[in-house]
Point group: C2
């Protein structure tokens, strides 16, 4: 059976889009190229900043570009869409309304993953835009979970990691990331959501998976759901991401 | 100035396509998302195997899919195309003839890069398809360079690394890669071309750049050329790829 063609509404940000593709490939059960699923990826970097718009710092809305990209991907034959960006899910309903094919919801999939691992109180590490829009809070309430955000000082740290490090192409230190995880644990969270795909990039580069099993990566969650939704199988149950190299 | 929209004729193979995107992002001078170039990427994994067709082992041609993807990307507004796969460049002229926008040539760019670093005799690590098609040999002669391929036993090793390891999602050992480089040096090469994008993936994952400055990576060469052709600047002169993480 031919699997479904995935349309990736990407570029928000551009590196997170690339990591998303990589995760999909690494997590798919495939022994050769042709066993992978097909993706059409709009890596549209120049889409206006999502957080700046949500916070009212910019009047330049990213919605127009994203809706147009969604329509372009649908016209090109995509069977469903994914948007590997938490902040942009503020516009999920509007983008979904612009096309007749489904747009998966990263917030919903991530909150479901938290519930599935028995979490009751979810800590959210995300952009100030996602926090202000309260997309995670709204979704957590739908699934009967409590939702906690960092205090203002910790949120400034989160923002610094996302904007001054990852989006700027600067390296992130493991201790900067783990300080954020510990901060959410101190707030009583029993699961910590990487609710910004840029944080997923750092978490993955730093190989923090094994040491922090209570961290739920929204990007990886969406990658798993995408594979299943497209009609493919996961590489193995709960396969963990791995590098393709052995340094020896 | 708005940069050009790059169309990536990808999926051949799917992981090399992702690495190509990543290289473009890492090598572009950009301090925020919006300073990156826009890419529309067809990660079309199910395109029939290129080498099997060139070797006459399969009658299923990849050309039809690739020409159709090229036309789709052109219709979607791409200003030029890149094909991050050496083997598929056997079909370069045919794909170029299917569209009215330019399709950059990874073989030409890589041979030019060898000439620019003063090489006289270029060793080619590539698929059996690329070797049989002699795409590198033809291009080397155009630029006045000698071209040498591995002996049959060494070529079987190259093929094993590409197909049984990288395309199968299995890890590659550094010593497997460096044995191939040394083999080409013993043949008198003063530059070794990674003439298969899957080898670029392994070379990069294994962080072999610094130790092997005579190795010319075709995928990285194409990424640099793509950035310049799109109207963007390279991150810094001869910037090397780096990981975005510091493990500490």
């Amino acid at each position: 059976m031919q699997s479904k063609l995935v349309g990736v509404l990407g570029g928000v940000g551009p590196m997170a889009t690339v990591y998303f593709e990589q995760m999909v490939l690494e997590l798919t059960e495939a022994r050769c190229d042709q066993e992978h699923l097909n993706m059409l990826v709009s890596n549209h970097a120049t889409i206006p900043d999502r957080t700046a718009f949500i916070l009212g710092e910019s009047r330049l809305s990213p919605l127009f570009d994203m809706a147009q990209d969604a329509q372009m991907l649908a016209r090109a034959g995509c069977d469903f869409l994914v948007l590997p960006c938490n902040t942009a899910h503020f516009f999920h309903e509007h983008i979904q309304n612009a096309v007749s094919i489904p747009l998966l919801n990263i917030i919903e999939e991530t909150v479901k993953a938290c519930a599935a691992q028995g979490a009751k109180r979810v800590g959210i590490l995300a952009t100030a835009g996602t926090v202000k829009a309260d997309t995670y809070g709204i979704m957590c309430r739908r699934f009967g979970l409590a939702c906690v955000y960092p205090d203002p000082a910790a949120q400034r740290q989160v923002t610094a990691v996302i904007y001054d490090r990852i989006k700027a192409g600067e390296p992130v230190r493991a201790k900067e990331m783990t300080a954020l995880y510990n901060c959410m644990r101190e707030e009583g969270s029993d699961a910590v959501v990487l609710g910004c795909t840029e944080l997923s990039v750092a978490h993955r580069d730093l190989e923090l998976h094994a040491a922090y099993p209570d961290v739920v990566d929204s990007l990886e969650t969406l990658a798993r759901r995408t594979i299943e939704y497209a009609g493919k199988r996961l590489r193995k149950p709960q396969a963990r991401l791995q590098t393709n190299a052995i340094r020896s």
